[in-house]
């Protein structure tokens, strides 16, 4: 690996991910006596409850995502190529919109509904990982299992091979569930209250002169998140998520026989729960369905026209900031991913990359303010630059892990041969690794773009992020402008899915998003 490139990438990692966390760590270091305060029974109670929510959501994500991912990737379930992208919509939709939809339709509140919504919103991660892992199982293994005992034997053979990917996806589901506070708060607005630990972190920042305690309060959640990510790293290092054989043969779709129609119903049900119903509700509201006038195409068209007219600048800002952050992340992640896969510092570099993912958004946002609000950096602080750096810092971990996984799949002997032939490290990276990693780089780019388009928690603290469409959407929700808000939400969802859809349609290749 080129030292220049690696140093540049490490500088980006340090600047965007580690420095804001380091600044906040210094505040805690100045007053370490606050640490024991965070272990009082009340906060421990909240932490245990949050842990249960995370485990419950991850369990639901496994129950829904694992069979869905396997069915759409490996079987002859009707319309599999349609279900596969539609299954992702539940993750692309902001989880609060899912909560709003389902609390209207189902009379269930509190912990069960929160867990169900978080499980539904994150099952696509498990499905995606399962689908990718299932597509990597060699045809010969499957043929042998089929001959030995039919479909049940195939399932028995495949389950252990899929399990690492399923668990890896569940870890991410757990991570998203324990860090969300908007959904528990919204879902338990009526009936028994369901407070979670993220609430505590948010509230602690309101008390003056308690910065050290506020940072300390975040530590248990950071530890919990890192603990959830450790299995992912371990599985990745074991190679459990990588291609199985070098002379790989792609398997043919498995015939489900009579099971085809129940499988179709399952896929249809899941896509309805996560995509059709929430999107349908947004279309209903955008068309004036909740007003006295009733739904009409003219109202729908009017709501979209108004949303575009009033928020086109916000949508454009969101697209530009998210695309810039995704592009920077893609560039930095290729180098860091390669260093993790091939370098000697994997054990050190991996946790550092993951750290920003584990830090609560509010702490990360305040860290960026402390770091960048100086006279010399005022233009950068007030402009889009800080938004891009903040988004890069928040989500760099995802493309880095994906690229590290993709690099592992490239035979290192090819790089060694090129080195012997005189190719320098930069040339080797761009001539050998990057072309082979196209789907992984694109997958990482799309993932950062999607997450950046949805970002709100840290964005509320960064000046220029005010112009982003999600910020506008949440402000509009307050005013009960249901048609306008629904149209804007649909526009955001549309813009968010466009890059992934274009990649698949134009190049005919699937995105790689497995670490």
């Amino acid at each position: 690996m080129s030292r220049t490139l690696l140093l540049a990438a490490l500088a980006c990692l340090a600047l965007a991910c580690l420095a804001p966390i380091g600044v906040m760590g210094l505040r805690l270091a100045a007053r370490p006596e606050v640490l024991p305060d965070i272990l009082d029974p009340r906060t421990l109670g909240l932490l245990m409850r949050t842990l249960r929510l995370g485990l419950g959501a991850a369990g639901i994500a496994i129950l829904l995502g694992a069979p869905f991912g396997w069915l759409v990737s490996r079987t002859d379930v009707p319309l599999a190529s349609l279900w596969r992208p539609l299954g992702l919509v539940a993750f692309i939709l902001p989880s609060l919109l899912l909560a709003v939809t389902w609390t209207v339709l189902v009379d269930l509140r509190g912990a069960p509904m929160t867990t169900a919504v978080m499980g539904l919103g994150t099952f696509p991660i498990v499905a995606l990982f399962t689908a990718k892992a299932a597509a990597r199982i060699d045809a010969r293994r499957e043929e042998a299992a089929l001959l030995a005992g039919g479909l049940p034997a195939v399932l028995r053979m495949e389950l252990p091979l899929l399990l690492p990917a399923i668990l890896c996806g569940a870890c991410f589901s757990f991570l998203f569930a324990i860090n969300d506070f908007a959904v528990p708060d919204y879902v338990s607005s009526v009936g028994r209250k369901f407070n979670v630990y993220a609430d505590e972190i948010f509230a602690t920042w309101q008390v003056d002169n308690q910065d050290a305690r506020a940072v300390a309060t975040a530590l248990p959640l950071i530890a919990l998140t890192l603990l959830a990510l450790l299995p992912t790293l371990w599985l990745r290092r074991r190679g459990s998520l990588a291609t199985v054989d070098s002379d790989f043969r792609r398997p043919a779709p498995l015939r489900l026989g009579r099971g085809r129609w129940p499988a179709l119903l399952f896929c249809l049900l899941l896509v309805s729960l996560g995509a059709f119903v929430p999107i349908g509700r947004l279309l209903w509201e955008a068309g004036g369905g909740t007003t006295g006038e009733g739904w009409s195409p003219a109202h729908l068209s009017g709501a979209f026209s108004q949303a575009i007219e009033l928020t086109h600048a916000n949508l454009l800002a969101s697209i530009l900031y998210s695309a810039a952050a995704a592009t920077l992340a893609a560039a930095v992640a290729v180098v860091l991913g390669h260093a993790i896969a091939r370098g000697r510092w994997t054990v050190l570099l991996e946790p550092l990359v993951l750290l920003s993912l584990a830090v609560p958004a509010i702490l990360f946002g305040i860290g960026n303010i402390s770091l960048w609000n100086h006279t010399w950096s005022r233009a950068f602080y007030s402009g889009p630059g800080l938004v891009i750096v903040m988004l890069l810092g928040r989500y760099l971990a995802f493309p880095t892990l994906i690229d590290a996984g993709a690099t592992t799949a490239i035979d290192p002997r090819i790089e060694e041969a090129a080195a012997l032939a005189g190719a320098g490290p930069i040339r080797r990276l761009f001539s050998i690794d990057v072309p082979s990693m196209g789907p992984a780089i694109a997958g990482g780019w799309v993932l950062v773009f999607v997450l950046a388009m949805r970002e709100l928690d840290a964005a509320i603290l960064v000046p220029a992020a005010n112009r982003m469409a999600m910020f506008k959407l949440y402000n509009m929700v307050h005013f009960g402008r249901d048609d306008f808000v629904a149209a804007l939400a649909l526009l955001i969802v549309f813009v968010t899915v466009v890059p992934g859809v274009l990649w698949t349609l134009l190049l005919g290749r699937r995105l790689e998003v497995m670490p």
Binding site: G45, L46, Y186, G191, R192, N475
Partner: protein
């Protein structure tokens, strides 16, 4: 492009992203964006000044802009803070973040809405009110005050926002100020204690806006919110009516009035423009416009024209905004412990 220049691409992207036209004035606005951005746009047109306005979100009240102002204290970049309430402004004043400015436009604003040291000025107020769903609540059962929240007939059908942010936090602290420690503590403890019940007597929701939507949709029968939220529901055609709480009886508690506040920041980078903005925003004309807007802000000056429904409650809660602001820190901590419990 050679391979050697490739690593510079990300840095080039960042440098380009950092470019932008510098503003003549930076205003942090926690008054709702849909109401305030039009006013600020008019100020720009009238004065030719380029204003950078940065807004708060409904969900992040307090933690968003106030936190940012505190974090930026060493190197202030905001000139004016236009807050939708008063307690957090007092808190900033007490932290030494605000600079005195005695605006000539504020000369006729009643003294109770102005800081004695002129670090902030209140105007265009909102009142805490009960929003009542008229389909669910017969006229003879209309709630009249905060004690109606505990009426068994409304068990599980009334609500209030969690008193940890925004105007509900101000309301909570004001009750400690006017009712005294014991009665206020009993009131909030009773609400908090009920949260572990399957059907709590009083539902505690995320925000005033959410409470308004729950009542407007008929999920709840009534609850506490602000007059601007009530007005939004009314304009949407929801079956709701407004009740100013605690107006009746021998010595009624009265309704809490919460003025919008405006303040110049200490070390404001564009001080002359900041003063010009404060003079402009405190004018009677802007207060009139805010009264006729969807937020239906209540003018604090008697001679400012207003729509028919935008009225001051007959009996106002007798509070000291400075006192409320001074108690915010300790009360917030206590209320957090009271309301954020795992049950």
């Amino acid at each position: 492009m050679t391979c050697r220049t490739t690593p510079l691409l990300p840095l080039l992207c960042l440098a380009l992203a950092a470019c932008g036209k510098p503003p003549d004035l930076v205003v942090y606005v926690s008054l709702d964006q849909v109401f305030s951005e039009e006013v600020i746009r008019d100020f720009e047109q009238e004065t030719g000044l380029h204003v950078r306005a940065e807004y708060d979100t409904e969900a992040s009240k307090t933690v968003g802009l106030v936190r940012r102002l505190i974090e930026e204290r060493e190197s202030p970049r905001c000139d004016v803070f236009w807050n939708n309430e008063v307690a957090q402004t007092v808190r900033l004043a007490e932290l030494g973040l605000l600079s005195p400015y005695d605006s000539p436009s504020a000369a006729d604003i009643p003294e109770r809405f102005r800081d004695p040291q002129r670090r902030w000025t209140g105007f265009a107020a909102r009142a805490r009110c009960l929003i009542v769903n008229t389909d669910l609540v017969p006229p003879e059962q209309t709630p009249r005050g905060m004690d109606d929240l505990f009426d068994p007939r409304w068990k599980g059908r009334c609500g209030i926002a969690r008193p940890l942010t925004g105007t509900t936090l101000t309301h909570a602290v004001a009750l400690y100020d006017v009712l005294g420690e014991e009665r206020a503590e009993a009131f909030w403890s009773r609400i908090a204690a009920g949260q572990s019940d399957e059907t709590p007597q009083v539902n505690v929701v995320g925000s005033n806006g959410q409470l308004m939507r729950l009542v407007a949709s008929g999920t709840l029968a009534f609850g506490f919110t602000d007059t601007d939220d009530f007005n939004v529901a009314l304009e949407k055609g929801a079956p709701v009516k407004r009740v100013f709480p605690d107006q009746e009886g021998e010595d009624p508690l009265g309704t809490l009035l919460i003025p919008t506040t405006v303040a110049v920041l200490k070390g404001a980078p564009h001080r002359p423009a900041a003063e010009r903005f404060v003079d402009w925003i405190l004018s009677k004309e802007i207060e009139r416009r805010l009264a006729f807007s969807r937020s239906a802000q209540i003018p604090v000056r008697d001679d400012v024209p207003r729509p028919e429904g935008v009225v001051l409650p007959a009996k106002l809660m007798d509070v000291s905004y400075v006192s409320i602001g001074m108690q915010m820190e300790a009360r917030t901590k206590h209320l957090t412990e009271l309301f954020l419990r795992a049950r």
